[in-house]
Amino acid sequence: MVDVNTLFGKTKEEAKPISPKSVEEYPEAPISLGTTLVNFTGDWRTFMPVIDESKCVKCYICWKFCPEPAIFIKPDGMVAIDYDYCKGCGICANECPTKAIAMVREEK
């Protein structure tokens, strides 16, 4: 399986987009390294999914349904959300059989 964290020889940290502070810092043309790897879809979010670990039964339905995919499984088997890519669609919260995921309005 392709590890998206090392696509193009770049780790996700290295691939983090520069967040230009002034217009001069932007590239002349709208180009970006990689695609959604560095264009964080997390910017789109209005509501953020928050997992209540005590309710989670590790069925991984959320992991399967997340379209981005922004949900990953930690070494201890617990699911976690990568907020850099989670666009806040709420599918995970809708699909979770134990209602372990709540969509919370995000203050930015």
Partner: protein, 394 residues
Amino acid sequence: MEYKPIKKVVSGNYAAAYAALHARVQVVAAYPITPQTSIIEKIAEFIANGLADIQYIPVESEHSAMAACIGASATGARVFTATSAQGLALMHEMLHWASGARLPIVMVDVNRAMAPPWSVWDDQTDSLAQRDTGWMQFYAENNQEVYDGVLMAYKIAETVNLPAMIVESAFILSHTYDIVEMIPQELVDEFLPPRKPLYSLANFEEPFAVGGLATPNDYYEFRYKIAKAMEEAKDVIKRVGKEFGEKFGRDYSEMIEKAYIDDADFVFMGMGSLMGTVKEAVDMLRKEGYKVGYAKVRWFRPFPKEELIEIAESVKGIAVLDRNYSFGQEGILFNEAKGSLYNASAHPLMKNYIVGLGGRDFTVKDVKAIAEDMKKIIEKGKVEEEVEWYHLKR
């Protein structure tokens, strides 16, 4: 190498094809549409005869033609295409992709009236309707300017990374033959070195995406960059036009070509081939004692606002000749010119004459009649009918 022009008797369309050949374009994608077709036919002939190493991409529509040009240009190639009227309209969506991705594609548009009613004759509405797509626009007066315009456009476009459109009149230039001084290949190569692209999709070592999604947080800045490049293009245009003049004897350092401005009561302003008629008429009117001049707008985008203000400061009136019309407002050049002068100190009397739509003949006699009308306006000191449909059968 000393410059000795190669004189050829060619149509405006062939002048465009030769210019593309001399600019060493690498990719051409186009769909035939009257009266543009013979540009592409000539290029096909160059390729068939082994004169040019051009990749020709056959497509099924103008929308695809521009899409192919965009893809090729994004790999770093020098790209050419040509179209006309309905074809240009079909390209509209893609024109934004070209300028947005900052690709210096050069295209010849053979100015033709929009249907219905179906027409294949001259009218500037097709190209002016593409005013806001981020393409630079040069209006050629004659076949020589078509040739020179294409060569200069590549140099300018590749400096500011914006696409450029060279506009020539349907049939008046596209299909009539005239002497065109062409530049020997070695000198063109000196003037126009190979393109140095801003980025290249053919760089497989560092993959990247072009034109991906920009959130509201970033889109704005990319638009500003285009606006700034357009503004910078004014200086580049003047510099390249001057260099062209020094090297090849035809100076294009002014975005508005003008004459007799200093002591003129009023001037004729317009674009494209109709200004050839105006220039001829103005010379005659001068001999008859009329204090008239002309201002031929060569580059419509970027718009030469500063040069126009300078002209406005020294004349009492401007007769704007528009071979186009924006429904619900007025002639497009008239609208632009008036707007440009709003905050200037000079406010000459301005009248808009809608002329020559759909190829209606516009002659020296017509220029004289308009001069008479303008003379009366200057004497009265006011414009009564702001927009006049000059040829209308009444």
